[in-house]
């Protein structure tokens, strides 16, 4: 049975990053051009972009070339007045109708960083639009941006998804060479809990 991983997450949560990682495997039909360019616009370059606009067209897609397929999309897609909300479960339904087994994968990133990233780039926090769809997903698998940057190949190797993952590909190190979260994090001088660690005295409440 052919299988497709459908990856989604809030804007800025690592959709491009994970698309690179999951497109590395030669047996997976994915966003291969993203392996040559650091960044590409989803709506022009992602292989299924036109089908996200109208999932009923998926019946016209040539599914004969591969056993494994990968697509990704953020919710929402686009910016300000031009943004729109892809219907993840509608896409899933249309793919399943074609006899292809799907797996929904949800990516996440620190919510504070997400908020700052979205405000800077999009002029608003679009996180609530993603969270609105989250309860509708059937049995999603959750992936972590922070885990990927910390454990890299160890984390990828541990994943049990329905498509093969090229966790040992040399390009994984290249893709993960700089942690973009670093620029958002600053030193904090002190915090209420610090003394507990030093004295060992339990704290009943904050």
């Amino acid at each position: 049975m052919k299988k497709m991983v459908i990856l989604t997450g809030p804007q800025g949560s690592g959709n491009h990053l994970w698309s690179k990682i999951f497109s590395l495997h030669s047996e997976v039909f994915g966003w291969k051009t993203l392996l040559d360019n650091y960044w590409e616009a989803h709506r022009f370059a992602e292989p299924f972009c036109e089908y996200w606009k109208d999932p009923s067209k998926l019946k016209d897609f040539d599914w004969s070339t591969h056993q494994y397929f990968f697509t990704s999309i953020s919710v929402p897609l686009g910016i300000q007045e031009k943004k729109w909300e892809p219907n993840i479960m509608e896409f899933v339904h249309q793919v399943e109708e074609l006899g292809i087994k799907t797996q929904v994968v949800v990516v996440g990133r620190d919510q504070n960083i997400l908020r700052h990233q979205q405000n800077r780039l999009r002029g608003e926090s679009t996180l609530p639009l993603f969270m609105k769809q989250l309860p509708e997903f059937s049995n999603p698998v959750f992936l972590s941006y922070e885990l990927l940057y910390l454990y890299k190949q160890h984390y990828l190797k541990s994943l049990d998804l329905s498509i093969p993952i090229a966790w040992d590909d040399d390009r994984v190190d290249e893709i993960l060479s700089n942690d973009p979260n670093d620029k958002y994090v600053h030193h904090v001088e002190e915090y209420i809990l610090d003394n507990c660690n030093k004295t060992g005295v339990p704290l009943k409440s904050l």
Binding site: Q111, R120, H187
Partner: protein, 213 residues
């Protein structure tokens, strides 16, 4: 067969927090004192002494519950002395007692985790934990899962529900006590606004229509 989840993470990665989450289920034995207190010293954890002397663990320690959660940070302090916990030996001893064991490694953003350790401990111990996990735990016989601090605070009960299914272990993800001591995301104080980034121009360019580029 009784089940044990060993939760371990670098110092400051969320050991207390995830221990509270797992111990909140009435069918799970473990660090129950964390349900009443925000913070408790690590050497008062239910299994604390066995991270130093795992050979002393007995069946008696698993009486009263079918499900257990145990927690230790790496490194950790027991009675004022710093140790590398014997997680692998503890797991092997529990398994020899007929307990089904899974290990969960907690992850928090590495930049934030390092900043927290630098402030509280005066040194970054994250590499110590990474070295121990990569050389002694991952790929060393037990099924290892990763628990993600940021995923919990973002997706909350949806994330915990998935973790419960993944581990086949009861988690009371609808229990409001999980959030009892959480007034705000602990990462928030570490995160600052960034006014620009080199990729922004590319992204702004890319999200215009082709004729407007």
């Amino acid at each position: 067969m009784k089940k044990l989840i060993i939760i371990t993470g670098p110092q400051g990665s969320g050991n207390h927090f995830f221990s509270r989450v797992f111990s909140a289920h009435p069918k799970v034995g473990g660090w129950k004192s964390l349900l009443d207190k925000y913070w408790v010293p690590s050497d008062e954890e239910y299994f604390a002494k066995y991270w130093v002397n795992p050979e002393e663990l007995t069946e008696k320690d698993f009486e009263g519950y079918d499900y257990w959660s145990a927690n230790v940070s790496c490194p950790f302090y027991y009675d004022g002395v710093r140790y590398i916990p014997k997680v692998q030996e503890f797991a092997e001893k529990a398994q020899s007692l007929g307990i089904d064991v899974q290990i969960c490694i907690i992850v928090r953003d590495q930049n934030i985790n390092s900043e927290q350790q630098k402030r509280v401990r005066g040194e970054v111990t994250l590499p110590v934990a990474m070295h121990y996990y990569q050389n002694n735990i991952i790929g060393n016989g037990f099924k290892v899962h990763f628990l993600d601090n940021e995923a919990f605070f973002l997706h909350k009960k949806y994330y915990l529900k998935w973790v419960s299914e993944l581990l086949d272990f009861p988690i009371d993800y609808n229990n409001p006590d999980i959030f009892k001591f959480i007034t705000e995301d602990p990462n928030k104080k570490y995160v600052k606004y960034v006014s620009e980034y080199w990729l922004d121009v590319e992204v702004w360019h890319g999200i215009q229509s082709k004729e407007n580029r």
